[in-house]
């Protein structure tokens, strides 16, 4: 495929109306792990005019290459996952209600009383709950278990929904002042960021963008994508929780916020899956300092990104992750700041422009 569209590499990407529109389209699409079709179509449509190569692999990853120009280009893989947490319909009961299972980590307490969309046709349904009048005190002390909940699409749904169909929360994208509110910000923010970076890819690198599948069920797509690309280095671009909420006990301070909104992109030092390569951590923090772009270090600890799979492929790939902070991940609606997203895009673009072969010439050191 030949490149049909050139955008000046010196220009920096911006967040504006067309980026919001793209993010809206991405967040409102359904792409539960294992069935990423809708987001895949959007991604392919977006990148086909700017890419040198677009490939859909055996697992459904979209693997996009955009070559730089000149000598000694570094092969940089960026990875964002297309899939989201959601549901699979597993059984139709005699009362025309549907039993479902969760796909990915969803707290059961987030389920009752929510609107959902089922299947490729986005059929509307609801997850109800027993009337409070008929519950006992002891019942109200227990979680409502997922296995007792049903999705109701009305009495005449007939055969339009089948076991195996996927469903998501029905939340529609909206902008609330300085914030974005949507389902699946994890990781459509990353997907949108990668698309913008592809458009404005700096010439000093070959940009290998992996739009991955099945991150939420075990970082599975990223592993084969990294094997395919065999890059010199990799950055996972994801969305990570901000738990910057008050503590109940006034005397306690919140020391476990993970990230905070308005503090800029979150650079990873360590999570459950990866101990980041410090050369890349420093590349990012130095870039932020020099460009006066705010950033924060995500609190080291649990959680994980596609980097966890990527860095262990073949003989090892120096890797780091950057996330847009977002509150209420893995629920019906997250909230993120537009500025944090814009600064993530800005930081990554500037950092990619600074990548040289020297960066990785020595040994991994602190």
């Amino acid at each position: 495929m030949t490149k049909k569209l050139e955008i000046s590499a010196s220009k920096a990407p911006q967040i504006g109306p067309s980026q919001f529109q793209l993010l809206e389209q991405l967040c409102n699409a359904t792409a539960v792990s294992g069935d990423e079709h809708e987001v895949r179509q959007i991604v392919i449509e977006q990148v086909k005019l700017i890419a040198d190569d677009v490939k859909v692999d055996a697992m459904g990853n979209v693997l996009v290459t955009r070559f730089g120009r000149g000598e000694n280009r570094v092969r940089v893989m960026l990875a964002s996952h297309m899939d989201e947490i959601g549901f699979m319909i597993v059984k139709k009961h005699d009362d025309d209600l549907f039993q479902f299972e969760r796909v990915g980590g969803i707290d059961e307490r987030q389920l009752p009383g929510k609107a959902v969309l089922v299947g490729r046709d986005h059929l509307p349904g609801v997850i109800g709950a027993k009337p409070i009048h008929q519950t006992t005190t002891s019942e109200r002390k227990k979680k409502i278990e997922c296995s007792s909940l049903r999705i109701d699409l009305g009495p005449e749904i007939g055969d339009k929904v089948q076991p195996g169909d996927r469903a998501t929360f029905a939340t529609r994208f909206e902008i609330l002042g300085p914030s974005l509110r949507a389902k699946a910000l994890d990781d459509r923010l990353g997907v949108a960021t990668l698309i913008e970076l592809l458009k404005y890819a700096p010439p000093n690198i070959d940009l290998l963008a992996a739009f991955t599948v099945q991150e939420e069920v075990g970082l599975r797509g990223a592993r084969v994508a990294a094997y395919h690309f065999n890059p010199d280095m990799a950055i996972a671009v994801d969305s990570t929780p901000a738990y910057d909420l008050p503590t109940w006990d006034e005397e306690d301070q919140n020391t476990r916020y993970n990230t905070r909104l308005d503090a800029g992109p979150a650079i990873y030092v360590m999570d459950r899956g990866t101990i980041a390569d410090r050369r890349l951590v420093k590349l990012l923090s130095r870039t932020g300092d020099e460009e006066s772009t705010p950033y924060q270090f995500r609190q080291p600890g649990g959680g994980g990104t596609d980097a966890g799979a990527i860095h262990l492929v073949r003989t090892g790939i120096p890797s780091v992750s950057v996330s847009v902070p977002s509150r209420y991940a893995h629920s019906a609606a997250g909230i993120a700041r537009i500025d944090d997203w814009a600064n993530t895009l800005r930081l990554l673009h500037a950092a990619l422009g600074r990548v040289t072969p020297d960066l990785l010439a020595g040994e991994r050191r602190d």
Binding site: S33, K91, V217, H228
Partner: protein, 352 residues
């Protein structure tokens, strides 16, 4: 088609715990030798059988992966002539007391799992279930003889003999997953008389029950274009009635979920329809719990299908299947493979 029961019974009588598949591999080797063009053993003990297709070189490759390893136990300590044990693979300790076993020491020793009386165990055990670490194995020999014949690290396998039940049902230990090896054998037999374009790589994989070790390594060596994973799946039975459980003897489970390529799912469903073989959609919303978890993510990814033989009482010594379902899987796979044309891979994509 040959009667599969004799081979199956022979396989069920052979040890072959995860990581120690030697004895079962020998039996499968004999069964597959006349049915394949080449046989080899992977570096960690999986058996690879190649039956060449008639298409032009280079031919596409389809992998059939059926794990041959069994769950069991391993000796951790020898105490006053009794053996203490730990599991290899997932064993519910509550089914162990009183089970006949074979201890594979310097010679095979028959014995049984014993549950010591509560007053010899920590008080916390009470009348509740007894953890495996508290159970003992008694082989009926004096302590000094036991110490001579058994050492720490020796294996302990179930000794329950296969039992033929009514209605072509078979019970026994390790039907998981020797029935799938039997189905693969039937498929190879059927392919003797059917032309097929693709190379068929039949793999009896090692170490599924502990690490998916065979499934991670053999495809890396073979690099198939697509893979069919055959394993047992959950049949409806006492206490097992929810959506995960398929009717017993009700036909082949075809896996559906993230581990499975949707185009292969559809192709199997259509093939079954043509052959009038009953099938059931086996939903796997997250992981399949089979070799497909490993095969799918080998190298740059391999499209997988998962076929299941509904089985009751999984991981007990009295697992039960319907032989009808075993034959159905064999026939379905053979037809599926015979239908693979040189250009079929182009139709196995994500944009359908």
């Amino acid at each position: 088609m040959n009667d599969i029961l004799p081979l199956l019974k022979k396989m069920l009588s052979a040890p072959g715990l995860s990581g120690f598949e030697g004895p079962i591999r020998e039996i499968i080797t004999q069964a597959w030798r006349p049915l394949t063009d080449e046989l080899s053993v992977s570096k960690i003990g999986s058996l690879h059988g190649l039956k060449k297709g008639r298409g032009e070189d280079p031919r596409k490759r389809v992998l059939i992966s059926a794990h041959m390893d069994a769950i069991g136990m391993i000796v951790t300590e020898i105490k006053d002539g009794f053996l203490r044990i730990a599991p290899i693979g997932g064993i519910d300790h509550r089914i162990l007391p009183g089970q006949p076993v074979i201890v594979h020491g310097r010679q095979a020793l028959r014995g049984q799992v014993v549950q010591p009386p509560g007053f010899l165990l920590p008080e916390s055990v009470g009348s509740g279930p007894v953890k495996m670490s508290y159970l003992l194995v008694d082989v009926g020999l004096q302590p000094e003889v036991v110490s001579e014949k058994v050492r720490v690290g020796d294996l302990v396998s179930y000794a329950q003999a296969p039992i033929e039940l009514t209605g072509e049902a078979l019970a026994g230990h390790t039907l998981d997953n020797r029935v799938s090896v039997a189905a693969t054998t039937l498929c190879l037999e059927e392919l003797q008389n059917r032309a097929h374009d693709w190379d068929v790589w039949a793999v009896a994989s090692a170490q599924e029950e502990v690490s998916l070790g065979g499934a991670q390594t053999s495809p890396f060596e073979i690099r198939p274009d697509i893979a069919i994973i055959v394993d047992v799946c959950f049949a409806k039975g006492p206490g097992a009635t929810d959506w995960q459980n398929l009717p017993f003897g009700g036909g082949v489970g075809i896996g559906f979920g993230p581990n499975i390529h949707p185009a292969l799912y559809s192709r199997f469903e259509e093939t079954a329809k043509t052959l009038e073989i009953p099938v059931q959609k086996d939903l796997m919303p997250k992981m399949s719990g089979t070799d497909a978890m490993a095969v799918q993510v080998v190298a740059d990814g391999i499209p997988c299908a998962v076929l299941g033989i509904p089985l009751r009482y999984m991981h007990t010594p009295v697992e039960t299947v319907s032989l009808k379902d075993v034959r159905r899987v064999g026939r379905l796979m053979a037809a599926f493979i015979a239908n693979l044309k040189p250009d079929t891979l182009d139709q196995i994509n994500w944009e359908a």
